[in-house]
Point group: C2
Chain length 243, copies 2
């Protein structure tokens, strides 16, 4: 059984327009649990999907590789996020899922979820909705990669993480834990770790944000938001209850 206060169920319940009881069937599915250490792959490109994975604790990422070993994190996954929702409908993964920190993952049987979707329209719509929200994040990340400078790209990501972490209760107004090496941040932003380092220094010089010992301090949230041109519309928080 999914525990009632697991991040996954908590996030789903936060949809403002859903009656609580509608999610009970989802919580009643049999469930497995997996523990991962950093750099450990949960699924690999080309695998045939057999489970639906939900990140419960820690950070992970959807990763795409280039033949020469360079990689890109298409999506950063936080507690409560579904790791591989498109595995429900596609025949093979076209990305990997890699743990960025120690993390624990719930796994639901893929067919059990599909069957539940067939019976329960609410659950089906909810999963589709989550997929579209993830898609919106990806669109925004693509805009960053295509047209924003390294500085704005980093600032924008820090803003996005602030809101996503706040929603699940992992941030305070003055900052949040950011348990990623600068190299991993670089893989999320399409930059090099050296340049991430220099860019953090710039943000610190501008008195906007500073990173130290895996803790991000927001020195001037409003200034950071404005300078990055960050608007939270694309997170589609409108349908969500406050955290």
């Amino acid at each position: 059984m999914i525990h009632a206060d697991a991040p996954f169920v908590a996030r789903l319940r936060s949809r403002a327009d859903l009656p609580e009881a509608q999610l009970d069937p989802l919580g009643a599915l049999p469930i497995g649990r997996v523990s991962l250490t950093p750099e450990c792959q949960l699924v690999s490109e080309g695998d045939r999907p057999r489970y639906l994975h939900v990140l419960e604790q820690g950070w992970a990422a959807k990763v795409k590789m280039l033949p020469d070993g360079r990689r890109h994190f298409a999506t950063l996954l936080l507690p409560g996020d579904i790791c591989d929702i498109d595995g429900l409908h596609l025949h093979a993964y076209d990305y990997g899922v890699v743990a960025l920190t120690r993390c624990t993952v719930s796994r639901l049987d893929r067919h059990a979820v599909l069957d539940l979707c067939d019976e329960n329209r609410i659950v089906a719509q909810l999963l589709t909705w989550l997929a579209f929200v993830e898609n919106a994040l990806l669109n925004q990340a693509a805009l960053s990669l295509a047209r924003r400078s390294a500085r704005d790209r980093l600032a924008h990501l820090l803003c996005e993480l602030m809101l996503r972490l706040t929603r699940i209760g992992f941030a305070r107004v003055d900052g949040y834990d950011l348990p990623l090496s600068q190299e991993k941040i670089a893989d999320a932003l399409g930059l090099t770790s050296v340049h991430i380092n220099r860019t953090f220094r710039q943000l610190r010089t501008e008195q906007l944000a500073s990173l130290s010992r895996q803790r991000l301090s927001l020195l001037d949230w409003d200034g950071l938001r404005r300078s990055a041109g960050f608007t939270p519309d694309y997170l589609h928080l409108d349908g969500m209850r406050a955290a």
Copy 2:
């Protein structure tokens, strides 16, 4: 009524594992038609979705803007593609849809489609499947933006277009019509039009591909594919019949 040989229905019918008759209800929906000229916006960021739009003729794109006017095409839309599938479930568009050529669009009433999805499981799954495939394209584009050089990025896009156009019968083995200015190609790849020009010259020098008068000639398809590291898995053509 959607005409039986409209690109949209044609594409849906091409799912190999679907009995043909299952799609009849979709073809029976009432339908509107819109004509657009280049640079004309079909929907705008922030709009409230009221229709589901299907591109029937011409090229279009999902566009995201930066305050300073720079823009990025998140997805290139070809005949048969749904322009705004996430509008079915989200409250507001977080992107615009802009015509790149003259084009015609079918519009289905959003609620009619949602109602149909409620009745007809096959249609619902098919639309979800299309959304996931689009998502996969976006992931691949993000990898290009993050980690591929301009040359590889362009070569990769040309390969992708070759397969997508072939599927809908718009390409020959020696090339295809590419009715986009170099500036629009730049907006799709996160580059400048000047650099797109130089990059095309490079591909021509390498005897791989050449663009002239809106026609892309594939001089060496296999060489282009290999040099770009192009593998078509992410297009998820496996569930499709041959064009």
